[in-house]
């Protein structure tokens, strides 16, 4: 079995550094620092997984996951109604959608990472033991699938454990667990509270006193944490709905952390700030790679009026998956629990809806995100969304899973523009655009692409991004690529790409001259027109094939600005940072220098 796949990140960084950093004199070491994952808990902007945007959340709807509506609320009846094979298949597809990989194996290999060999990697899976047999809790089929994936990677079943350190969940799950029976959850017996997790360890929190935690999470002995939560309303202390009216992945960790003095209590943690604090804690988001790598909300059946200890009262037929719990929760609550159509049989009480309006946004702001950041990617199981093959940002304009904006050329050799990627005709490039982002919010390369800029909210590859329909450079482009680069509707400063038939004259770019560009989405070579567009970055270019990512101008290079800048550096969905901006700017400067000294061939 392969050991830790995390070196992929390093490979990516090497590529990025070679393509751009070298030109601007930044060392790879700095990039390592730039993208190093925290070992000390949450820091705003930190990527949980460098290859997956924190903000990306997948929701699959499939009525076939339940063979019928369970006749009653019992755990057994409910689980018997689940079609484990369909759930497994959907989880595979969701992983592919999340990681933007074309095979499930690739996707899971991107999601799960360990610094240890898989055979010695330890995994904890949070479940929920609250209430009685009729309480809604995560279905066994979800754990089975995740365990199958982990075992497939090389994790030993004995090194996987389900737990709830507050309420003992063993009586519910143990009948479904076996170390050897592949028809069951291949894991150790469910931890009786923290007994299977090294016991309890005291932790000091700012917002709660006398708190303990499962010791092996606190010490880092557990390498991977998978958080699976049932989709339930929570009426909060005193019925005040003070936790955003929901108990999902974040609230699930009241049970990873518990009161130290009283068994089966987490009273002291029942306040919103404590909820946020424990979800930033190193036990959850520390580690290299980050410990909590996957968050799943089991919304096959949901609790609307029934509280956290109650039975399910709605059939919602959905699974939700992401890497970052606050955004997974925010989107699950807003799109499922608070959706009166989905929850029609027993909706959340009005007081809960009212409270959620002010509390749920704090799920985002407390972690440095804005309401416009989360990306809810929902689909019907029967028609999953297209996944971009990697690397094609170029000609076909797809942006590619990895592609786009790449170091070299259109679409980029290496990828990363990826998931999001620039270049795509539309979404292909991805909604989010990594490359984009990277180039970033700030960066020049980045800015160049997309309406809002690569980097911008929608980024490369995004609907409107580079290569996108409306292309980079977007209308509001103001960035390095040229204050103006844009050309509006179509094409854009965008180098080239996009398509357009279009075009108005690029306003702005330094040399932006043109008109009538042909199209090319995805940064493919501009097919049309000799005059094709000016490029984004500064509107320099001209008639060159460009790449996705955008902007670019000269022939071979890619988008986002300078050769490989922006996009390539930025990569998949990584949040933009000032380093990214510097890098992209550096690349642009380097490019300009190259042109000044006659080194640049701007022809196609």
């Amino acid at each position: 079995m392969p050991a830790n796949p995390s070196p992929k990140r390093r490979d990516f960084l090497k590529t990025a550094a070679a393509g751009a950093a070298g030109a601007v004199g930044l060392s790879a070491l700095k990039f390592d620092k730039l993208f190093a994952q925290s070992t000390g808990g949450w820091v705003n902007g930190m990527p949980i997984n460098p290859a997956i945007d924190n903000k990306r959340v997948i929701c699959c709807h499939d009525t076939k996951m339940l063979t019928s509506t369970p006749a009653n609320n019992s755990f057994t009846t409910t689980n018997n109604a689940v079609d484990a094979a369909v759930v497994a298949s959907n989880l595979d597809e969701m992983a592919m959608q999340l990681a933007q990989k074309t095979t499930a194996a690739e996707a899971w290999g991107t999601i799960f990472r360990s610094s240890k060999p898989w055979a010695s990697t330890r995994v904890a899976m949070k479940t929920n033991g609250i209430g009685g047999t009729t309480t809604n809790r995560p279905k066994w089929a979800i754990y089975k699938k995740i365990c199958d994936v982990l075992v497939g990677l090389g994790v030993q079943p004995a090194n996987i454990v389900l737990f709830d350190a507050c309420d003992d969940a063993s009586s519910y799950y143990n009948p479904y667990i076996s170390l050897t029976d592949s028809t069951k959850i291949r894991a150790a017996q469910t931890s009786v509270r923290a007994a299977g997790m090294g016991g309890f360890a005291a932790v000091t929190l700012t917002n709660a006193t006398a708190i303990s935690i499962a010791a092996d999470l606190n010490s880092g002995a557990i390498d991977i944490l998978v958080n699976v939560a049932a989709c339930k309303m929570h009426n909060g202390t005193g019925g005040k709905y003070s936790y955003g009216s929901c108990t999902l992945c974040m609230k699930n960790h009241l049970g990873t952390f518990t009161d130290a003095s009283k068994a089966q209590h987490s009273d002291n943690l029942h306040n919103l700030q404590a909820l946020f604090e424990i979800n930033k804690h190193p036990a959850i988001l520390g580690g290299t790679p980050v410990r909590q790598q996957l968050c799943i909300v089991d919304a096959l059946l949901s609790n609307g009026a029934s509280g956290p200890g109650g039975g399910w009262d709605n059939r919602t037929d959905r699974l939700v998956m992401g890497t970052f719990a606050p955004i997974v929760d925010y989107l699950s609550a807003t799109n499922i629990l608070l959706n009166s159509t989905l929850m029609a049989s027993s909706p959340i009480p009005q007081a809960g809806i009212t409270a959620a309006a002010t509390i749920l946004p704090q799920f985002l702001t407390s972690f440095g995100y804005a309401a416009t950041d989360p990306q809810w990617i929902a689909y019907e199981a029967s028609s999953p969304l297209a996944i971009n093959p990697s690397g094609t940002g170029g000609t076909s304009g797809t942006g590619g899973t990895t592609g786009a904006g790449g170091t070299t050329g259109s679409g980029g050799t290496t990828a990363r523009g990826g998931t999001t990627g620039s270049g795509g005709t539309t979404r292909t490039g991805g909604n989010t655009a990594s490359g984009g982002r990277a180039g970033g919010n700030t960066a020049s390369g980045g800015r160049a692409g997309g309406n809002t800029g690569m980097g911008g909210t929608s980024a490369n590859g995004g609907t409107s991004a580079n290569g996108g329909t409306s292309a980079s450079g977007g209308s509001s482009q103001t960035d390095t690529g040229g204050t103006t680069a844009t050309v509006g509707t179509t094409s854009a400063g965008g180098s080239s790409s996009t398509g357009g038939t279009a075009t108005t004259t690029p306003t702005g770019g330094t040399s932006a001259s043109t008109t009538s560009v042909a199209s090319a989405s995805g940064g493919s070579p501009i097919t049309g027109g000799t005059n094709s567009a000016a490029s984004a970055m500064g509107g320099m270019a001209t008639s060159a094939p460009s790449a996705s990512g955008g902007s670019r101008m000269t022939s071979t290079t890619a988008a986002g600005g300078g050769p490989g800048s922006g996009c390539s550096v930025a990569g998949g969905g990584r949040p933009a940072t000032r380093w990214g901006a510097m890098l992209a700017l550096g690349a642009m400067v380097a490019e300009k220098l190259r042109r000044l000294v006659g080194n640049g061939d701007h022809s196609s």
Binding site: N72, N73, T77, G131, N235, A305, D313, S346
Partner: protein
């Protein structure tokens, strides 16, 4: 009359008070019952309602005050902050696939029990009337498999979660069973 006799009378008096407390359970004037005694007052024996027996996979349990947190975590606050002193939890299995979980809570005073009922009724937007009970005494809301019932008798407050009956959108198929449980709970409330 000797001291021994006096002691004996006091002992008898104490026992009577204690017994009275046990009998009255939720009377505000009686000595408060322990959680176990309160639970015993309301616990359903097997087939006390024909066809309904204790769920072997979901143990009967009682809780004192905020210890109910052990059962429902943060949701306990909705009850304890309104005066819940002790709680009994029982899960019963009826004719397949029917299930009923019973929560009985001592709110010490009739007023507090009524306050709890009123809050919950409004919070859950409960509108299913369960004849012959008046909506001010017992009411329910539909779920996909049955209904959640809330009720109060004197200082005791109750919740029943009935599942196995299907959604109660048209005819209330769970109502007859709910009435059986409510009648029994009412009779157990002295």
């Amino acid at each position: 009359m000797g001291i021994g006799t006096t002691r004996a009378r006091l002992t008898v008096l104490s026992l009577l008070i204690g017994f009275n407390g046990l009998a009255c359970g939720s009377s505000p004037s009686s000595a408060p019952l322990t959680a176990d005694a309160f639970g015993a007052q309301y616990k359903f024996a097997d087939n006390e309602i024909s066809g309904w027996t204790q769920d072997p996979s979901d143990p009967y349990s009682t809780y004192t005050g905020e210890e109910y947190v052990q059962k429902v975590d943060g949701a306990a606050g909705a009850y304890t902050e309104k005066g819940c002193r002790v709680t009994m939890y029982q899960s019963l299995v009826g004719p397949d696939p029917d299930l009923c979980t019973v929560l009985a809570m001592d709110f010490v005073t009739d007023t507090q029990a009524n306050t709890m009922f009123t809050w919950k009724k409004q919070d859950q937007n409960a509108t299913i009337v369960i004849p012959p009970y008046d909506a001010s005494v017992a009411i329910a809301s539909s779920t996909l498999t049955g209904m959640n019932v809330i009720a109060h008798f004197k200082a005791s407050y109750f919740e029943l979660a009935l599942s196995g009956f299907g959604a109660q959108t048209g005819q209330c198929t769970a109502c007859p069973v709910a009435v059986q449980f409510l009648d029994m709970l009412k009779s157990k409330t002295k």
